[in-house]
């Protein structure tokens, strides 16, 4: 799987190759949070990662985002290696997860500016970009209020603005709609779709089957740190002989996919 696959002419944006992450907990012995996962994402596709809690989704995404260092294996984002060129990898991805919260005492504008500067952007570019994003997400009215006083949905919008400021070709979104109401999650889903329109590559982890079914081009099922199945929704359904993604999910979870 690590060799380039000529399945289509599409270019590979993210390439994960037998990635492993082992945590040593002093009380237990070893936890293999990510245990030899390999997959590829093509440019312009939405790749969904599905799995129960504790399956290793977040660790996998953190590894790709270079927040954690892999124990073994490798991953490349737009051709940059996560171990050897973490700086370049960080510049090409926008990372958003449930644990990437924002500074409560800054305003949305200050937040976006701050991260823009850390990405090494020019002031004029930051200004232009932030104006665009704020307009698209409809947050001009809240841009000068301190984040601590905003609602959950508004905060999530700021997080999205933060992850988009440097216009990354790859987006890594860890449960972007978790804990949001229907209106806010609809806005997020719209945003993800529009990002694909701009031919961005998106890796998305989620709990919601419908969300995965609606949005993702391909889905990877993860359980106990291993990739148990991968393919389009239809491929997964036919391979497991089930009629819905939820059923397919339980089918693979019970170990039938091995």
């Amino acid at each position: 799987m690590c060799e380039p696959m000529d399945k289509s002419e599409r270019t590979t944006a993210v390439e994960v190759c037998s990635l492993c992450k082992v945590f040593t907990d002093p009380k237990r012995e070893e936890i293999r949070a990510v245990d030899g996962i390999s997959f590829e994402c093509y440019q312009g596709e939405i790749f969904g990662i599905l799995g129960p809690n504790g399956a290793g989704k977040t660790t996998l995404l953190r590894l790709i985002a270079t927040i954690l260092a892999p124990t073994s294996g490798s991953a490349r984002v737009c051709g940059y290696d996560v171990v050897n060129e973490p700086d370049k990898v960080k510049r090409t991805i926008g990372f958003l997860s449930g644990s990437t919260k924002l500074y409560a005492r800054l305003t949305p504008l200050e937040t976006v500016r701050y991260f823009g500067r850390l990405y090494g952007m020019e002031k004029s570019l930051i200004k232009k970009r932030s104006r665009e994003i704020f307009e698209v997400l409809g947050m001009e009215t809240i841009r000068d209020r301190q984040l601590g006083k905003l609602s959950t949905g508004e905060k999530q919008k700021v997080s999205i603005a933060r992850s988009l400021i440097h216009d990354p070709p790859v987006l890594i979104l860890d449960e972007p709609t978790a804990g949001l109401d229907i209106v806010s999650s609809k806005a997020i889903i719209n945003f993800i779709r529009s990002a694909r329109q701009e031919s961005k590559t998106i890796i998305l982890s989620t709990h919601y089957m419908t969300e995965a079914e609606e949005m993702c081009d391909r889905i990877g099922l993860i359980n106990r740190g291993r990739l148990t199945a991968m393919g389009t929704t239809d491929e997964l359904l036919s391979a497991s002989g089930t009629s819905s993604l939820t059923e397919a999910f339980f089918h693979y979870l019970s170990g039938n996919g091995e």
Partner: protein
């Protein structure tokens, strides 16, 4: 590392901190309000007190019925004194003064003025004032008598009674300055440290708690850039707090004391204090950041930082201690050096060498603390807090077996033993060292207050005993190494005891009492208590449990910290240096031999020889003479004289040879197939098979 990113992070941290009310309270409101209120209240209270003192007359009880009518009259004529004759030789009221004339001695010596005995309570301000008034009245009378005598004798030689006039050279401003020079450094040091406390926690543990750490880690900012940016903001707030305190303090004095203040608040000394605040601020910003990076929540970080702050209280208070002066060695001790140095500066008596030493040493500590903070920020375990905090009062059934105790558990064990030893041990030892049950008490303390709690705690935690306490086989070479290291360290330890006396002299009665306490006991009983018991119990505690708990540290920090803890445990400041050195040597032995037994052997030999020399002090003095060590040898053991340098060099060489031997024959570490993760406990994983083959 890109400076641009450091700057961006620094500016953002500053903005965030300045928007936080809590930081501003500590930083600005604290000094701006506290000093004026404190000083004004204090000085006003004092003036009120003084007026009250002046207005209130002193009641003087005269314990004399018959003689000295003139003197009595003189006293009674004083407006501020109210003389009452009494027959009771006891003071009824705390405020009063009792005066007794000793006529017998005056008659014997044929004097016209009696000896006067004043009885009063010094701690009572009224009585103290009363004493001064009585003395003044007596002096006035003595002068009068003397001048009358001169007239009577008409030119003949006459011996005046001794009249003493005090001529205090220090002006009131100087006296005030010395008082302020003693108290202000402590306040300044503590306020500055307090300034760093809140932002240090907020930017590290606070960030973790609020879940923003992953956001910043996902950005291209490097971990060192993040740490330095944060550190700069913490440092700036810390130094700003110090500066504000200094300014508020100075202005308050100028305002309250007027002209007097000029000599206290000299621009040059304020500037020097400010400059020397820099290394202190660097040290504490870095230290508190490093400590709070380890915590996962704000509260947890506060729990870690508060003890550090409290620990600083003691050295900071050293500036209040009269007679405790800054010397070259103390320049190297953190916090103490700062507060004593500030005092020197404020007294205007600083030495250039001290400035240099204080600066250099504090900078070294600060850079170490900063390095630790960066290291922790690179450590995924610390950053994402995978390690569970140590939980007390958890059902043992719930705990899982594990190879080693954690850091928190080792620190807890230390505290437990310190506390037990401090509060219970004196009871065992018959309160004082010279007490009858000293030897028995020491033995009981070792077994019941050290060994028993540690073993129970280790059992409760389900740690692997063999691994935690290094109950492993060792190479016979290590026995030889122990002997070499013992011989080498023996004289070095004696020299260290001498060096130690230069800054904290041991009370003379201590060693005398110790010797007396020991000699009262049977020799072999003393050996059991002083040599065998510590070699087993203290080793199991320090080189077993504690050393294993610090397993995550790399070797040398682990060995050094172990030595310092061992030195601290002895609770005797004047034994700190030699015991810490002993701890380092033994920890080295245990880490590099992979077994606790060489450590026990070393401890046993060391204590046994030391005990024998004390127990048979007369015989041993004769023995030293015989083998040609000369008369000095006996003095060496009492730490009276420095040892000859050639002996020290030779000792160091022997110690080094022993250490090198230990190192050379260290057990090879097992390479686990899991790779880097198995390397987390260096020195703990030993390959037994290899030793057996040898």
């Amino acid at each position: 590392m890109k400076l641009r990113n450091v700057k961006v992070i620094f500016l953002k941290e500053m903005l965030e901190t300045l928007r936080d009310k809590r930081t501003l309270m500590v930083m600005i409101l604290g000094p701006v309000l506290v000093y004026p209120v404190l000083i004004l209240a204090f000085s006003q209270m004092q003036s009120i007190q003084e007026t009250r003192l002046r207005e209130r007359p002193t009641t003087v009880y005269l314990l004399e019925r018959r003689s000295w009518p003139k003197l009595k009259k003189a006293l009674a004529e004083e407006p501020a004194l109210r003389v009452v004759e009494t027959t009771e030789s006891r003071l009824k009221n705390e405020n009063d003064v009792l005066v007794k004339f000793d006529s017998r001695r005056a008659k014997e010596e044929n004097r016209e003025i009696p000896s006067v005995v004043l009885t009063y309570r010094q701690t009572n301000v009224h009585a103290e004032k009363g004493k001064e008034r009585v003395l003044a009245a007596l002096e006035k009378y003595a002068r009068k008598v003397a001048s009358e005598k001169v007239e009577l004798s008409k030119g003949e030689r006459y011996v005046y009674p001794l009249i003493i006039e005090e001529n205090n050279l220090s002006s009131p401003s100087e006296r005030l300055r010395s008082v302020l020079a003693m108290t202000l450094p402590m306040i300044l040091v503590l306020m500055t440290i307090a300034g760093a406390m809140y932002p240090a926690i907020d930017t590290t543990a606070g960030e973790k708690e609020r879940g923003t750490i992953e956001t910043i880690l996902a950005s291209p900012a490097g971990r060192d850039e993040i740490v330095y940016g944060k550190f700069l903001s913490v440092f700036l707030i810390c130094i700003a707090t110090g500066l504000l305190n200094l300014v508020a303090m100075s202005l308050t004095f100028v305002h309250v004391l007027g002209g007097v203040s000029e000599s206290i608040v000299r621009v040059s000394s304020v500037a020097l204090v400010l400059v020397s605040l820099v290394p202190l601020a660097v040290l504490f910003s870095a230290l508190m950041m490093a400590v709070s990076t380890y915590a996962r929540t704000f509260r947890e970080a506060q729990n870690y930082v508060t003890p550090i702050y409290l620990l600083c209280l003691i050295p900071a208070m050293m500036s209040v201690q009269r007679g405790f002066e800054l010397n070259d060695f103390l320049c190297l001790v953190p916090v103490i050096n700062m507060s004593l140095f500030f005092r020197e500066v404020m007294e205007g008596s600083y030495i250039a060498r001290h400035i240099l030493l204080v600066f250099a040493s504090t900078s070294v500590y600060a850079s170490l603390a900063l390095r630790a903070a960066v290291k922790l920020f690179r450590d995924e375990n610390a950053l994402f807090s995978l390690e569970k905090p140590f939980a007390l009062f958890v059902r043992r059934r719930v705990l899982r077996a594990k190879p080693n105790p954690s850091l928190g558990e080792a620190v807890f064990a230390c505290m437990l033993v310190f506390i037990l030893f401090y509060y219970v041990s004196p009871g065992f030892q018959g309160v004082s060292i010279g007490g009858r049950s000293f030897v028995w008490g020491t033995m009981l303390s070792e077994w019941l207050l050290i060994l028993l709690p540690v073993l129970l705690f280790a059992r409760y935690l389900k740690v692997d005993f063999r691994n935690t306490f290094s109950f492993r086989k060792f190479s016979p070479v290590h026995v030889f190494a122990v002997l070499l290291m013992f011989v080498g360290s023996f004289f070095l330890l004696l020299e260290l005891a001498v060096l130690q006396k230069h800054f904290i002299p041991a009370p003379v009665e201590f060693s005398e009492k110790l010797t007396a306490g020991l000699k009262r006991a049977d020799f072999w009983l003393a050996v059991m208590a002083i040599a065998v018991s510590p070699a087993i119990c203290e080793e199991i505690m320090f080189r077993g449990f504690v050393l294993a708990g610090f397993g995550k540290f790399s070797r040398w920090p682990r060995i050094l910290i172990n030595g310092i803890l061992f030195g601290l445990y002895h609770l005797l400041l004047f034994r700190m240096l030699p015991t810490a050195f002993l701890g380092v040597v033994i920890a080295f032995l245990v880490v590099y031999s992979g077994s606790i037994f060489p450590g026990m052997l070393f401890h046993l030999t060391n204590n046994f020889v030391g005990l024998a020399v004390i127990y048979f002090s007369t015989e041993s003095a004769a023995f030293f003479k015989e083998i040609g060590l000369g008369e000095n040898a006996a003095d060496w053991f009492e730490g009276k004289v420095h040892l000859p340098w050639f002996l020290l060099v030779a000792s160091a060489a022997v110690l080094f040879a022993g250490a090198a031997l230990t190192w050379r024959f260290r057990p090879r570490e097992k390479r686990s197939s899991a790779g880097e993760t198995a390397d987390s406990t260096p020195g703990q994983v030993s390959n037994e098979e290899e030793i057996q083959q040898r």
